[in-house]
Each structure stands twice: as C-alpha cells, then as structure tokens.
C-alpha cells in the first residue's frame, strides 16, 4: 500500500511540476491543481507513526479513549484545511488567468509570445481592441 501511495504522489508531483513550467496559463493551473492533490495525499500519509492505521478518528462507545484504538485525526484536519484553501486559491488564479487572456489576447504566461516557441503560429492571435 505504501508503495502505491508513494508512486501516486510521485507521479502527481512530477506531472504537476512539469505542467507548472509550461508556457501556457492553462497548463500552469492544471499543474498547480495536480501539485495540490499530491500535497494533500502527502499530508494524509504523514499521520503519526506508532498510531493505529485503518481506524476511524471518531470516539466510539466501548473502545478505550487512547491513541491505540484511533487513527491520528490531525492529518485529516490539515488536509481538509489545505483542500479548502487550495481550492479557493486555484479559483482566484483562474479569474486572473481569464483576465490576462482577455487583456493580452494570448494565453502565454508572459502575456506575449515574442521570442518564445519559434514554431508557434502567432498570426491567428486576437488583436487587442
């Protein structure tokens, strides 16, 4: 199980970083989204060692209230917060992305294709009003 999780986090991070370094804003936002998935999984996997695995973090009747019978609730709380914040920030980034697209007429992260990607077709770009 550990190896599956580790590979999943690795693939998500790798693709995220690669996309983050691409020149198109949509690729960047996808990269950031993948990175945040990887980070959330990573937080989950960082539950404190030595505690019970595969248990619910809720107090149940009949079970003694100690850390042997319950999973660590902390990473779940952290992941929840991180998900909410990451989601909001990605939404905000999307708005700025669209504004940038509307103002510059291109989806390049620098607002212009000049000197970048020699093969790219620049002629069909929308002219600014």
């Amino acid at each position: 199980m550990e190896i599956v999780l580790a590979i999943a986090i690795g693939i998500l991070t790798g693709s995220g970083v690669w996309l983050l370094l691409r020149p198109r804003t949509f690729q960047v936002i996808m990269g950031l989204a993948l990175l945040s998935y990887a980070v959330n999984l990573f937080i989950f996997s960082m539950g404190r060692l030595g505690l019970a695995l595969g248990k619910a973090p809720l107090i149940q009747a009949g079970l003694p209230q100690n850390l042997v019978h319950y999973a660590d609730p902390m990473p779940q709380a952290l992941a929840l917060t991180a998900v909410v914040i990451g989601f909001a920030m990605t939404a905000l980034f999307l708005v700025v992305l669209l504004a940038s697209r509307g103002m510059s007429g291109t989806d390049h992260v620098d607002g212009s294709d000049a000197g970048d990607e020699p093969g790219a077709d620049v002629s069909n770009q929308k002219k600014r009003p």
């Binding site: 952290l78 905000l92 700025v96």
Partner: protein
C-alpha cells in the same frame, strides 16, 4: 508613564493580544456589508480601525518590553487547551515589534490611499483590512499550521490588492505572483506535514523541544523537511534566485499597496528568524545551526542582485522593489550567522529599512505624477477599466460621493518636500549617517567585527564570512547610494522647466510620518537598541520560549470542575 500603561493593560492581558487579529477581521466583515457607494463611511472605518490597531500594537509593545525577566512573553491559549494540543498565540518582543511595524506601514498607506488611490477599484478597504489581519496573525501565532493559514489570508488579500486598479501590467505580474505563491504554499504544506510526521506536533515550542530528541536515523529527513519549509519562507523573503516575481509585481501595484507590500518580504524574514532560532538553536544537538551557510550565502547573493538591480533600474518603483530585495538579503545573511549581537543589529535595521522602502514606494508615485505633469500616475492606466487619465471614476460607476479633484488644497513648497523626503529615503536605504539606516548598519558591522561584543574579542578573529558580509554591506550601500543619487539628480536637478508638483496634505503626510519614524528611531537609538538586544537574547535562548508556551495553563471553568465525565483540559496534559 510606562508603569501607568502597564497597570491599565494588566486586566486586559492576555486577551488584548487577539485585538490585532480580530479588529481588522471584524472591520473587513462590516465593510463587506456596506455598499460600494458608501465610500466615506468605509474610509472612516478603515482609518479608525487601522489607527486603533496601531495604538493597540504600540500598547502591546510597551507591555512586552515592560515585563520583568521572569515573564518575557505572553501566551494565549485560543481554545483553552494546553499546548501542544490547542492553537497558541504568543506575544514576545519580536512579535510586538513586527505588529507595530506592520500597523505603522499600514496606517501610512491607508492615509495615502484615501487621497485618491482607493477609488481605482472596488473593495479596496476590506481587502486592506484582511491583509492586515493576515500579517498580524502570522506575527502572533505559535503554531506552524496556523502560520500557514494566516499566510494564506495575507496572500489572498494581497492578490486582490495587487490587482487593485486593474490594468495589463498588474494582471500580468499578478499571474506570476499568484503562481509562485501557490507553489510556495505547496512547499510550506509539504515541509510542515513532514515535520509533523517526524515529531508529531505542529506547535512551534513543542517542535523545538522535540528536535533535540530526534532519532539519528531521522535526522536527514528532519533536515530535508526544514529545508523545504525554509524554501517556502525564502520565496516570500525574495531570496535570489527565487525573487524575479517581486519587482514587476510590487512596482505594478498601486502606490499604497506597494508601500504595504514592503512589509510582506519581512514576513518571510520573520518566519525564518523565529523558526530557525527555535528549531536549530544550541539545544538542537547535532542539528544546531543547520542551514546557516545557506542563509548566509543566499542572503549575500540576494544583496548583490538587489544592489545591481537598483543600479540598473530607471523607474523609481523598480528602485524601491530592488531596495526591498537588498534589505531582505542583508537581513537573511545576518540571520544566518546566528549570533545574538548581530541579530540585535539586524533587528534595528529591519524596521528602518522597511519604513524607508515603504516611503520610497509612496514617493515614487508622487514623483512619477509630477514628471508626467499630473496626466497619468503611471504608464499602466490606459488599460484600467475603472480609470481614465485623471484617476477619477468613469461615469456610470460612481464610486465616490464627493468628486474631489486632485488639485484640492496643495502643500506649499512641494518640490522642497519631495526632495527632502527622497534624500531621507536615500540616506536610510544606503545606510549613511545621520539617519537610522546608518545606526542599523553600524550595529551589524560592529557585531561582525566583534562577534563576542565590543572589547571582548578573546583572541578570536572574525572569519572570512564576516569579512565578506562586511564588504558586501558597505559595497551594496555604495551602489544603492549611486543609484538613488542618480535618480534624484534626474528628477530634481535635471528637470528645470517643470511646473511645481501638486501635492495634497494626505499624500505628503504619510511619507513624512514614515520618515519621521526613521528619525525617531535614530534619536531614540539607545532605548531602541536595548529593546532589540533584549529581543535577540530571548530569540537565541529558545528554552525561554518553549518554557513559556508549554507551561501556559488553561483557564479552568468552575462549572465543569469536579463533574464526572467532563474532560478537563488540564488533565489531558498530565495524561501525556
């Protein structure tokens, strides 16, 4: 006077510590409910709340300073759970200093903003308050994850503020700013969760306690976690080569926002100073001083980058942006030495350089407007949907009740004022006598040459790193001086046929106030330096912080005491 103040504050503490966070939050919430047309009310609320925040911060600073050696910091258990289970806020001298600094910069920029900039877009006032809330929260919290949350509040507000006024340059640099900060937040989370996996706690004091007891097999993992976490803070602190976003973003931002952002790099510096001294002090065993070389070298490269950038920039706001990088670099590399006298010096340098850079951002706006004959404040506004050339809201979008035009009552002798203010900025940023930049740099240089304090060399010679930083501090000061003088000559001496600038009181006042604070820091250098030395001593004795946080007792609720089945927070701690 100080004892009277402390007597007055004694019953309010520690609850007054919450005020710097709650006050902006409630003000922002209230302002969100007001319609955009009620600008005058919003201005009143914003100024009132910021001023009150400044007064509270100053009171907290006096309180933090006035305590005896036995209790050097105040601890607030937000959920009434003892550390490390609940979220903890801590007020010590460093947090109080940063609170006062951010409130002063905030107050100056809100004063500047209400002259005209606040009309450039919507929701300026609530965003401004939320930014202050994030800043104050980050300075007060003693919990790593809580620090992340306050960072995000601060950043979310700063994204909005950066885009205030819109325009292509702002959107473009905002895109980069948001992308790099989202990436940095991911790094923050990875680092924080790794530290949690290793130590089982996110409370800074508990973390500091656990570092000494870490298993030898886990040490590399600890270093990796700290490195990743530090990277997140270093991006905020604009260390080279992670600072290419800063200058375009800060210079594209509207002037009051740029002035407020001068404190944002200092948040990264604060986080590094706080966590590095806590986690990797002498008590960390084999990990003591981990990463110090990285900080020193990274800081030095940043200094060189900042100074060369200043030398190469034509635009005033670029100059201010590179000035912020230069100051960040000096502070980082001085932190890296990990010596209390040097830390005291850099703590003195921190507020004065922040205030001067903040004033320079405001001045840049005024001088650009003067140069452009009041036509446009900066070259970007042709794209701004909310603005026309006069910075008056367009028709159909009446954001303002009184259509007061720019040329209201203007200050006499505005050129003289601008010139003197620019000169004062130059003196502080370049570190020349007689202003506070010199005192700060002198304290740092003296600490570099005498690591054990004046007259107590003990036969120990300053090392090569000390000499390198010494040369860099003087050299970058010289480069900054050249750059600023050249721009000053171009603006004030080489342009004789310009009309006198039209300057309003509200625009002159914040610049004058920021620089007067620098003068005040110089005049009161003795007491201020004592304060900084006390701060540095506590910072380099992490055991005091750990002890203060871990021994904080929750308030017992009388109606729950003795009742069976009720969980008493005080018992939880014993059970551990």
């Amino acid at each position: 006077m100080m004892t009277t103040l402390n007597q007055f504050m004694a019953p309010l503490m520690p609850h007054l510590m919450l005020a710097p966070i709650l006050l902006p939050m409630l003000t922002a919430a209230l302002m969100l409910m007001l319609r955009e047309e009620q600008q005058r009310l919003k201005i009143g609320l914003n100024i009132g709340s910021t001023l009150l925040g400044l007064l509270v911060s100053i009171a907290l600073l006096c309180w933090a300073n006035g305590q005896g050696a036995a209790r050097t910091m105040d601890v607030y258990l937000a959920g009434n759970w003892p550390a490390p289970y609940g979220i903890v806020l801590v007020l010590d001298r460093l947090s109080a200093l940063m609170l006062v600094l951010s409130s002063s910069v905030g107050f100056a920029s809100v004063l500047f903003a209400i002259a005209r900039w606040h009309r450039a877009g919507v929701h300026f006032h609530p965003l401004f308050q939320l930014q202050l809330m994030g800043l104050c929260g980050a300075f007060l919290t003693a919990d790593l994850f809580n620090l992340f949350v306050f960072f995000e509040i601060m950043l979310a507000a700063s994204y909005g503020l950066l885009l205030h006024g819109s325009g292509r340059a702002r959107v473009q640099s905002g895109l980069h700013f948001i992308a790099i900060n989202l990436a940095a937040s991911s790094l923050f989370l990875i680092g924080a969760s790794m530290l949690y996996g290793l130590t089982g706690t996110l409370n800074m004091a508990d973390l500091a306690r656990s570092i000494g007891a870490i298993k030898e097999a886990d040490r590399n993992l600890l270093h990796a976690a700290s490195g990743i976490l530090a990277l997140a803070f270093l991006i905020k602190a604009a260390v080279w080569p992670l600072n290419f976003w800063l200058v375009p973003a800060y210079s594209a931002a509207s002037a009051p926002v740029g002035a407020l952002f001068a404190i944002m790099t200092k948040v990264g510096i604060y986080a590094i100073l706080r966590l590095w001294t806590l986690l990797f002090g002498v008590e960390a065993g084999a990990s003591a001083q981990f990463g110090s070389l990285w900080l020193v070298i990274g800081g030095m490269l940043t200094m060189v980058f900042g100074a060369l950038g200043m030398l190469g920039s034509q635009r005033l706001s670029y100059l201010a942006g590179y000035g912020a990088i230069l100051s960040s670099g000096s502070l980082l590399s001085a932190i890296g030495f990990g010596q209390a006298p040097l830390t005291a010096g850099l703590l003195y340098y921190l507020p004065s350089s922040t205030l001067a850079i903040s004033a320079l951002f405001l001045l840049a706006d005024l001088m650009d407007r003067w140069r452009n004959d009041g036509a446009t404040a900066s070259p970007f506004e042709e794209d701004a949907p909310f603005l026309n050339a006069e910075l008056v809201p367009t028709r159909g979008l009446n954001l303002d009740e009184d259509e007061e035009v720019l040329t209201g009552r203007v200050i006499p002798a505005a050129v003289a004022f601008l010139g003197l203010a620019f000169m004062a900025c130059t003196l502080v940023i370049a570190g020349l006598p007689p202003l506070s930049g010199f005192v700060g740099k002198f304290a740092m240089l003296s600490a570099l040459l005498n690591p054990l304090g004046l007259g107590a060399s003990g036969g120990q010679q300053p090392g090569s790193a000390n000499w390198a930083l010494l040369i860099l501090l003087i050299g970058t000061g010289l480069l900054a001086l050249i750059a600023l003088t050249r721009i000053g000559i171009l603006h004030f001496w080489a342009a004789s046929d310009r009309a006198a600038p039209k300057l309003r009181w509200l625009e002159g006042l914040p610049v004058a106030a920021l620089l007067a604070t620098c003068v005040g820091l110089t005049v009161q250098a003795g007491p201020v330096m004592d304060y900084m030395q006390a701060t540095a001593r506590v910072l380099h004795t992490p055991a005091m912080y750990v002890q203060a946080v871990m021994s904080a007792q929750p308030v017992l609720r009388m109606d729950l005491v003795g009742r069976t089945g009720a969980i008493n927070p005080a018992d939880v701690k014993d059970a551990r």
